[in-house]
Amino acid sequence: MAGRMKTKPPQYLHCSLCGFEFEKRDTVCAHGCPLGRFCKLVRCPNCQYEFPERPELLGLVHRMFHRPKPRPSPPGSLPLSELNEGESSELVCLNCAQRSRSDVLAVYGLVPGSLVILQQKRPAFVVRVGETELALESDIAREILVKRLVAQ
């Protein structure tokens, strides 16, 4: 029983038609295509659209020069990174670029309505959610949208 098990990290793809995020292993074609594993197309499990994966070289260039764009936030909310140290806030929503990231944050209690206290901003963000102390990078802190709570 005490065997060591290694699991491969999942590789996430985005459908270029419907924007659905899915794991690469979910993309196997259902029909008996003669190309088999030589087929370089991936299929979105949501809309069944087939598209080629990004070629290696293009991916390399993309990684060298790509800067992620900030996403618009709903009115009345501000990113957690804008709060001052020691301020309390209520979480409005998570605006994560990757769904997998918000899934992970939710497990630590970061869900809409929860009370989030920003303890420090440097060298990394440390927030307190209930009884949990959590360290986050500024990239992630920018994706957490909160509402300021007036100190009582």
């Binding site: 098990m5 990290p9 290696e56 209690g109 440097r122 360290a135």
Partner: protein, 647 residues
């Protein structure tokens, strides 16, 4: 609960208890209290997934106990949770004992609700009740048990309080009455939010906080440790202590004693004499002078000298009697003799290397490491260095293997397993092999530094850091694949428990010896074969023009570089002699060039084996093809630029 009644088909099979819980809640302590067995469990996220099993007897019934890795949720998204789900599926008649941190009931209840979907008899153990009291909280266990429909047992596992009650409660384990709508294989954000709302409802009925707690000293220490200023001071203090204990006490005092006295004066001469009796052929061994100093180190330069001795000892090197002619049978005996106790012999090289040099270093290192781990400092260390590591395409979690690399790169390469993505593992491994000198290298480098100016030493350090960041940055850009997010839970700071630290250290050492000693034996065997076939001298001759022309070093150093790769201390000692010995032949400029080159060199052949085992042959080949030319290139560059500037 009685297993035999519930599952009549498997009357002979023993019942199983599966321990499930969030990370860092004391599952393993409870496991060892229940079974009397110890398991090494590192609380660092993403550690190799292993399941420990043990046995216990409760009321005459035998139970098998399984300890699963800490999980925050039961989605198969991460390796740990996947394994826990598999265990629950593989043992359909098991009793689930959920261990919870009483201070953090909310997240424990999230897990309880997810576990409830499995419809198994369950018990909830509220551990660390003492810490809950300490922060002024109170949980109504009876009410909680009513609400979720399973027995709730408060415990303090480290003190052994409540363990008997856990045993007794197993009879009353029930399928939870509380239930959410049918769950899915992959849990979504919305689902988790709904579960947490339910958890909050329960919490509001059972959890009260009596008084607003004042921060304790441990809590304050925890905050200081992540503060930009105070945290840096603590970081430096921790680093210096680690360096002193591992680098000076372990790699200096302990290695000196084991290598020079235990192996050099007793085990090796004894083995040589024994081999001479069993495998006789006409030869005479040489004697060498062995100087030994026993001192308590204070700084790399010196310490308090307590004892000094010097004597002549039997060496593995020998000369053949000139008159003798060796028949084939004698040749076979000589080969066997050399294989065991020769210059590259199994006993005189591999065992003394593994047990006298590496073992004391890793022992002291694991000791410090266990203390740091038990105290809850490691995640805070990761916070402090996260930004710098981001430049290198890594995140703060990679600090662990990097620090470990200063002890032994082979071991550090193995611990890159804790990193979540392959990209991070490759970059960390590359940087470890390239620019993190292991303790054996570091010892020699520090000694060589004595013969160069202070400015040159600083130049060497800065160059190494710049290379590390530049190569890491480039590798982060060029190597594909995702980087993991830096989301790290901070456990509370605690005073490490001495017994726990020792047990952890021993358990780790056992694991280390099993994994690494075979690699040292293999490396020495290869060195032996290459030496016998005269391949070593031939390769060294091929490399001479490069060494004399491009690096500007004497031609003998070619052999030193080559042997140094196969066995670190041999090559290093030659360079050290040439740099600082009584007949020093190297100029300070040449010493600097040699220092730069050997720092960038791959530490040793065992590291190469480990890289190929962890990342595959192809990646190991790429890393090797990059490192060796790069080390020579940088060394040569320093040489040429230095000459131009007239150093």
């Amino acid at each position: 609960m009685n297993c035999a009644e519930e599952i009549p088909t498997t009357t002979t099979a023993e019942c199983t208890i599966v321990l499930v819980g969030n990370p860092n809640v004391g599952k393993s302590v409870l496991f060892s209290k229940l079974t009397g067995k110890y398991v090494t469990v590192s609380n660092y996220p993403g550690t190799t997934v292993e399941i420990a099993s043990g046995k216990t007897t409760i009321g005459g019934e035998h139970f098998a106990v399984l300890d699963t890795p800490g999980v925050n949720e039961l989605a198969a998204r991460t390796g740990d949770a996947g394994v826990t789900c598999d265990v629950l599926r593989d043992y359909p008649d098991a009793v689930v004992v959920q261990v919870a941190d009483a201070k953090n009931l909310r997240r424990a209840l999230l897990l309880t609700l997810q576990l409830a979907e499995f419809r198994r008899p369950q018990v909830l153990v509220l551990n660390m009740m003492d810490e809950l009291d300490g922060c002024g909280g109170h949980i109504d266990a009876a009410r909680l048990s009513e609400l979720i429909g399973v027995p709730v047992v408060p415990t303090i596992a480290t003190a052994g309080t409540g363990i008997e009650q856990v045993r007794e409660s197993l009879d009353e384990a029930r399928v939870p009455s509380i239930r959410m709508e049918a769950g899915h294989e992959t849990r979504s954000y919305a689902e988790t939010a709904a579960y947490l709302r339910r958890a909050n409802e329960i919490l509001s009925q059972v959890y009260t906080r009596v008084r607003p707690s004042k921060p304790t000293f441990a809590q304050k220490l925890g905050w200081w440790a992540t503060d930009p200023v105070k945290g840096s001071v603590i970081l430096l203090a921790v680093l210096y202590f680690t360096f002193w204990f591992v680098g000076l006490v372990g790699a200096g005092t302990a290695v000196g004693f084991l290598e020079n006295v235990v192996f050099g004066r007793y085990i090796n001469p004894w083995a040589i004499r024994a081999a001479d009796v069993i495998l006789p052929f006409p030869h005479t061994h040489e004697y060498v002078r062995s100087d030994y100093k026993f001192e308590i180190p204070l700084t790399p330069a010196g310490g308090i000298l307590l004892h000094q001795s010097s004597r002549d000892i039997l060496a593995p090197t020998y000369s053949l009697d000139s008159s003798a002619t060796l028949g084939w049978w004698t040749q076979v005996r000589r080969l066997a003799h050399d294989f065991l106790v020769g210059q590259y012999g199994v006993i005189t090289t591999a065992l003394s290397y593994a047990l006298a040099i590496v073992l004391p270093i890793v022992t002291t290192f694991f000791l410090v490491f266990s203390i740091l781990e038990d105290s809850g400092y490691l995640p805070r260390l990761a916070i402090m260095v996260n930004r710098a590591f981001r430049w290198m395409g890594l995140n703060g979690k990679a600090v662990l293997p990097m620090v470990l690399g200063l002890g032994c790169d082979t071991m550090a390469t193995m611990t890159t397993r804790i990193l979540e993505t392959r990209k991070e593992r490759v970059i960390t491994t590359l940087l470890l092999a390239l620019s993190v000198p292991c303790s054996a290298q570091l010892g020699v480098l520090l000694a060589m530094m004595a013969s160069v100016s202070f400015g040159a030493a600083v130049f060497w350090l800065l160059l190494n850091v710049v290379i590390m960041i530049a190569v890491g940055w480039l590798a982060g850009r060029l190597i594909g694949g995702p980087s993991s997010d830096f989301i790290l839970e901070l456990p509370p700071m605690r005073r490490p428990q001495l017994s726990n630290v020792f047990v952890k250290t021993f358990a780790r050492l056992e694991w280390y010896l099993k994994e690494v000693i075979p690699l040292f034996l293999l490396g020495t065997a290869i060195l032996f074969v290459l030496d016998k076939l005269n391949v070593l001298t031939r390769i060294a001759r091929l490399g001479e023009p490069l060494v004399t022309g491009w690096l500007g070093l004497p031609k003998e150093t070619a052999t030193a570089f080559l042997v140094g790769f196969l066995r670190r201390d041999f090559g290093a000692v030659y360079l050290l002699d040439a740099a600082t010995g009584p007949h020093a032949t190297l100029t300070p400029h040449q010493v600097l060039v040699a220092m730069v080159t050997i720092t960038l060199f791959m530490p040793c052949i065992a590291t190469l084996f480990m890289i190929s085992r962890e990342l595959g042959k192809k990646t190991a080949l790429w890393i090797t093809v990059f490192i060796f030319p790069f080390a020579f290139f940088m060394g040569g560059l320093v040489n040429q630029i230095g000459r131009l500037c007239g150093w």
